[in-house]
Amino acid sequence: MHPILILFLWLILFLPLAAAVGITLFALRSPARSAQLSIGAIGAAFGLSLALFWHFSSHPEPPEWYINWLSVADLKIDLGFRLDPLSLLMLLIVTGVGGAIHIYSWGYLRGDRSVPRFFACLSFFTFSMLGIVLANNFVQMFIFWELVGLSSYLLIGFWHERPAAADAAKKAFLVNRLGDFGFLIGILILWNVLGSVHFQTLQGKLADNPHALWSLTTVAGLLIFCGAMGKSAQFPLHVWLPDAMEGPTPVSALIHAATMVAAGVYMLCRVFFLFQAAPQWPDDIAWLQVSALDVIAWIGGITALLSALMAVQQNDIKRILAYSTLSQLGYMVMAVGVNGPGQGMYHLTTHAFFKALLFLGAGSVILALHHEQDIWKMGGLAKKMPLTYWTFLIGTLALCGVPPFSGFYSKDAILAAAFEHGQFVLFGLGVGVAMLTALYMFRLVWVAFGGSARSAAVNHAQESPRIITLPLIALAIPSALAGFFGIDHYLAGYFSHGRSAEAASWLHRLVAPFAQAPLPAWAGLVAVGVGFVAAWQLYREAKTDPLPRLLGGFAQAMRERFYFDELYAKIIAYTQDALATVVDGLDRWILAGTLVRGVHGTVELAGRLLRLLQTGNLQTYALVVATGVLLLLYCLIVR
C-alpha cells in the first residue's frame, strides 16, 4: 500500500482519539473548543475516508497493511488495517452518520455543564468503533470491541445523576460482557485449532480444508456469534438496548443506530467464511445436526418478531425507536443466517441513515417539548415543527419499506434471500414483521405529529434551531435515495468474490426487486399496506390507545416487553441470593468466631458444630487447612 494511504488510515483511526485526549487535557472547561475539536476530528476522518473510498473504487484488490505487534510462542498478533469494500463502506457510515450526530449533539446539549466530557467520550467511542472496522484480526477486534463497550458505558451513563441512567449503563456493559465471553472463547478455539487469529489466514485455511476445525466447526461459529448477540442486542441478550435510551438522544442515535449495534452484524459479515462449512458437532452431541447459520437466522427472526410486537405497545418515543432498532437488527442477523451477508450489510447501511434520522428527529421533538417523551402527550406537532415532521416522515417511510425509499430495497433483499434459501417460515416471519413495523411507526407518526395537541407543552413547541435541523436534512437525503446508490451491487461483488457487479441505471434499480424476485417484493409491499391500514383504522383519530381494549392481556404483555426483564431480574436475583446465602454461610461459618455464632440463626448449626470442636477463629482456619490437605490427598489418590 502506498505510504500516503497508510498515513490516511492512521489519521482516520487516531484523530478521534487525539481529539478525546486533547479535550481531556486542554479543553475540559471550554464547551465550544471541545465541540470544535471533536467535530473537526470526525469531519477530517470522514473526508479521508471519502478519499480512500474514491481511490479504491478503481482498485478491486483488497489491500492490507500490518505490523507485528505481539508474538509469543505460536501466538502472533498484528496491529493491522484491513481495507476492502466492507470496511470502506463501514468507515463511511461511521464517520459520515457519526459526523452528522456530532454536529447535532452540539446543538442538543448546548448549555449542559458537562459538554466537554460528552465530546471526549463521543470521540473516544468513535475511535473504538473505527478500530473494530479496521481490524484485520480477532484479537485487535476484540480489544476495540471491549473499548466500545467501555465507552458506551460512559456515554449511556452520561447523566449519571439519574439512577436509571447509571443502572442502564451498567446493564449494557455487563450484558455485553456476557456475550463477549463466548466471543473470547471462540477466538481461543480458533487460534488453538487453526493457529491464527488473522482473518485472511483463517479464511485461507478454511478454504483449503473446510473440515480444518473438525468437530468444533459449529461450536466455534456459535461462540463467535455470542459476541454479536451481545453487541447487536439479539434475543436473549436484547434487554440492554431499550434501557440504554436513558443516555442523551444523540448517544442513542450514535450507539443504537449507526455504530455500536451495527458492530455485531459487521463482525458476522467480516468472518462470514467461518459459517460456510457444513455443521460439525462434537461426538457427544452429534445428533444436533443444526448449522450455526440456522441458529443465527432463527435468533435473528425471533428477535425481529418479538421486538416488533413490543414496539407496538410502547408509549415513549425513544423506546419505540429502540425496539424498532432491535427488530431491524433481527432482520440483519437473519439475513446473515440465510446466507445473505451482503443483504445484511445493505440493510445495515440504509438503516444507519434512517434510524439516525429518526432518533435525531425524536430528539428534536423532545427538546422542543422540554424533555417530554410520552407520545400520548404530544399530538399536532406536524404544524408546529414542519421540518422535523417531514424529515421524520421520510425516515418512517424508509423504515417501513415503502418504495422508492431506501428501506424498501434493503428489506426486500433480505426477504428475497430468505425465500431463495428455502426458509419459508422465516420469510413469512419477515413479512409479518414488516406489517408490524408499518403499524407501530404510523402509530407513532399519527399520535405524535397528527391530530391535535394533547398537552400544554405542545402549544409552546417551536421548530428546532438550524444546527439541529441541518443534520436532519443531511440524513434525510440518503434515507430516501440510498436504494439507488448501487450499494447492493457493490457488496454483492465483494461477497461473491470477483463476480463483477452489473452496471445498472437508477431507473433499472427502481424496479429491480419486482423484476428479479416478484413474490417477496409484492409480499413486503402488501404487508406494509396492511400495517398502514391497521394503523389508520386504530390511531387516526384515537385519543387513547385502543389496542389494550382489543387485545387485553396480550397487549399488556407487549407493553411489559414479555416480562423478559422481570424474568432475568428474578433469575439473577435468585442465583445471587442462593450463591450469596451459600457463600455467606460458608464465610460466616469459617470466618465468624464465637461471638457471632448463636446470634445469627443461619449460622447457628455451624456454631454448634464449632462449639463441639472447641474451635475459635484461628483454629477454624487451621481446621480448614487440614481438611483442605486431606481433600487434596483424596482427590489425588482417587485419580
Binding site: N68, W69, L70, S71, V72, A73, D74, L75, V139, F142, I143, F144, E146, L147, L150, G157, H160, E161, A166, K170, F173, L174, R177, L178, F181, L184, I185, L188, I189, W191, N192, L579, A580, V583, D584, D587, I590, L591, N617, L618, T620, Y621, A622, V624, V625, T627, G628, V629, L630, L631, L632, L633, C635, L636, I637, R639
Partner: protein, 480 residues
C-alpha cells in the same frame, strides 16, 4: 570464593543496604522524621535495579548448584526491587492527620522490608531445599513483624498473631512434605529430586502436604483464610507489599516446588491446580462482592487474582510460564496503584471504607482516575495491561485444551468486573448525600505521586507496547 560472592552480589548489596538503614535509624535515635531512611532505601533499591542490568545478577551457579539466577528469576528479582522502591516511597512521612504506623518506626520498618526482599531473592534463585526453606522463612518472618508493627493497635497485633501461627503451621506442613520427599530421593537438590521421584502413594501424600504450605503463600482457597484478616489489620503499605511481592514469591515457590519437584505427577498436578484455581477464583470473587472495607475488598480481589494466575500454571510449558510472569508484573503494578490510592486516602483521612469514597472524582479527580484505571486493569479491560495478561493466561489454558477452565475464568472475570465497578460507582456515579461526609481534597506528597504515576504508566505501557511480553517470553523459553 570471590566469584561465588560475586554471583550473589545482588543479595549481598541488599543486606548491606538493610543494615545501613537500621544503622541510620539507630544513630538518629528517632529524632528525625524518617525521610532519610526512605530516601536511602528507595535510592539504594533503585541503584540495585539499575545495577542488575550491569551484572549483579549473573546467570551463573554458585555454592555447588544450590543457587542459580536464571532469566526468569532475574525478572522476579527486578519486580521485587521495583515493588520495594514503590513501597518505600509510599511510606514517605508527609503531613499526616492520623498517627498510623509504620511512620513511628520507619527505620525498622524499611529495614525489615529489605530483609524480606533479600529472602525473596534467595527464594527465586534457590535450587536446593534448604536454601529454599531458609529463603521462604526470611521472606515471612520480617513480614510478620511488619504486619504487627503497629503494636499499639489491637487489630495490627491480632493480624500479626494470625499471620505468625498460620505461617508456622503451613511451613510445618510444607516441611513434613519435603521430609518425605527427601526420604524418597535422598538428595536436597531440586533437579535431583525431580529425577528420582516416582508415582507412589507417598509421593502423592507429600504433594498434598507441600501444596498446603505453598497454598498459604499464594492464598489459594482453602488455604487463604488468613489473607483478609491479615490484610485488614496490617498497615496499608504492608498490605500492598504482601499482596504483590509476597504473592509473586509464592508463585515462584509454587513453580519450583509443585511443578518442578512433582513433575512425575504431571496430570494429577494439572487436575489439582485447575480445581484449586476454580475454587480460588470463585470464592474470592463471590466474597469480594460483599465487602465494603477497601483493604478487605482488595484482599479478596487478590485471592481471586491468584486464582486467575493459577490458570496459567496449568500449562507446564514456556507459554504458561510466560503468561504467569507477565501477569504477575501486570498485577503488581495494578494492585500497587489501587493500594497507593488507598494508602494516600487512609493516611490523610483514616478512611478505608469504599462508601467513604463517595464523590472522590470531584474532590480528588486524579486519585479517582488512578483508582479507576487500576480497577479496570484488574478487571481486564483493554487496553490496560490487565487485559493482555488475562488473555495470555487464558490462551495458555486453551493451548492445553482446557476450555472448561477458560470458561470458568471468563465467567469469573465478569463477576470481578461487577465488583470493581462498584468502587467506580462510589467514586464517579453516586452523587446523593446519604449523610456521609465527603473526602476533602487531599494534599498528596511527591513520593506518593511517583508511586501512583509509575504504576499508572506501567499499567498502560505494559498493555500496549509489545516488548514486555517479549522479554517474558524470551526468559521463559530458557527456563526459570
Amino acid at each position: 570464593m570471590l566469584e561465588q560472592l560475586a554471583t550473589i552480589s545482588n543479595e549481598l548489596l541488599l543486606t548491606l543496604l538493610a543494615f545501613t538503614v537500621f544503622s541510620i535509624s539507630l544513630v538518629s535515635l528517632k529524632k528525625t522524621d524518617g525521610k532519610a531512611e526512605v530516601l536511602v532505601t528507595a535510592g539504594g533499591l533503585l541503584a540495585l535495579l539499575v545495577l542488575s542490568f550491569a551484572g549483579t545478577m549473573p546467570h551463573r551457579a554458585a555454592f555447588g548448584d544450590a543457587y542459580v539466577t536464571g532469566p526468569v528469576a532475574a525478572i522476579f528479582k527486578r519486580l521485587f526491587l521495583a515493588a520495594g522502591i514503590l513501597m518505600a516511597l509510599l511510606s514517605w512521612p508527609g503531613k499526616r492527620k492520623t498517627d498510623v504506623a509504620p511512620f513511628h518506626h520507619l527505620g525498622e520498618y524499611l529495614g525489615l522490608l529489605l530483609l524480606s526482599i533479600i529472602g525473596m531473592c534467595f527464594l527465586v534463585s534457590a535450587m536446593e531445599l534448604a536454601l529454599l526453606y531458609v529463603g521462604l522463612e526470611l521472606v515471612t518472618i520480617p513480614l510478620i513483624l511488619l504486619v504487627a508493627i503497629n503494636r499499639h493497635e489491637l487489630r495490627s497485633a491480632e493480624a500479626g498473631m494470625k499471620y505468625v501461627l498460620f505461617s508456622a503451621m503451613s511451613s510445618g506442613l510444607l516441611l513434613y512434605g519435603l521430609s518425605l520427599v527427601y526420604g524418597m530421593a535422598g538428595t536436597l537438590s531440586l533437579a535431583g529430586i525431580a529425577a528420582k521421584l516416582t508415582w507412589t502413594p507417598l509421593t502423592v501424600m507429600a504433594l498434598a502436604l507441600v501444596m498446603g504450605g505453598v497454598g498459604f503463600k499464594i492464598s489459594a482457597v482453602p488455604f487463604h483464610l488468613w489473607t483478609p484478616d491479615t490484610y485488614e489489620g496490617a498497615p496499608v503499605p504492608v498490605t500492598a507489599f504482601l499482596s504483590v511481592a509476597s504473592k509473586a514469591a509464592g508463585f515462584a515457590l509454587f513453580y519450583k516446588v509443585v511443578a518442578g519437584l512433582f513433575a512425575v505427577l504431571g496430570p494429577s498436578v494439572v487436575v489439582m491446580v485447575s480445581i484449586l484455581a476454580t475454587l480460588t477464583m470463585t470464592f474470592g470473587n463471590l466474597v469480594a462482592l460483599q465487602q465494603t472495607n477497601l483493604k478487605r475488598f482488595l484482599a479478596f480481589s487478590s485471592i481471586a487474582q491468584a486464582g486467575f494466575l493459577m490458570i496459567g500454571l496449568v500449562h507446564g510449558g514456556p507459554l504458561g510460564l510466560t503468561s504467569v510472569v507477565f501477569y504477575l508484573a501486570v498485577y503488581l503494578f495494578s494492585n500497587l496503584a489501587a493500594f497507593g490510592v488507598v494508602t494516600v486516602v487512609s493516611a490523610a483521612t483514616g478512611k478505608e471504607d469504599m462508601r467513604d469514597y463517595l464523590g472522590l472524582s470531584e474532590s480528588n479527580p486524579k486519585l479517582a482516575l488512578v483508582m479507576m484505571l487500576a480497577m479496570f486493569s484488574l478487571a481486564g479491560i483493554p487496553p490496560l495491561a490487565g487485559f493482555l495478561g488475562k488473555f495470555y493466561l487464558f490462551a495458555a489454558a486453551a493451548e492445553k485444551g482446557m476450555y472448561w477452565l477458560v470458561f470458568v475464568g471468563a465467567v469469573n472475570a465478569t463477576i470481578s468486573l461487577y465488583y470493581y465497578l462498584i468502587v467506580i460507582k462510589w467514586m464517579y456515579l453516586l452523587k446523593a448525600a446519604e449523610g456521609r461526609q465527603r473526602i476533602e481534597p487531599i494534599e498528596v506528597s511527591w513520593a506518593s505521586w511517583v508511586v501512583l504515576g509509575v504504576s499508572t504508566v506501567a499499567m498502560i505501557v505494559i498493555g500496549i507496547l509489545p516488548q514486555f511480553i517479549h522479554w517474558a517470553e524470551v526468559a521463559a523459553s530458557s527456563g526459570f
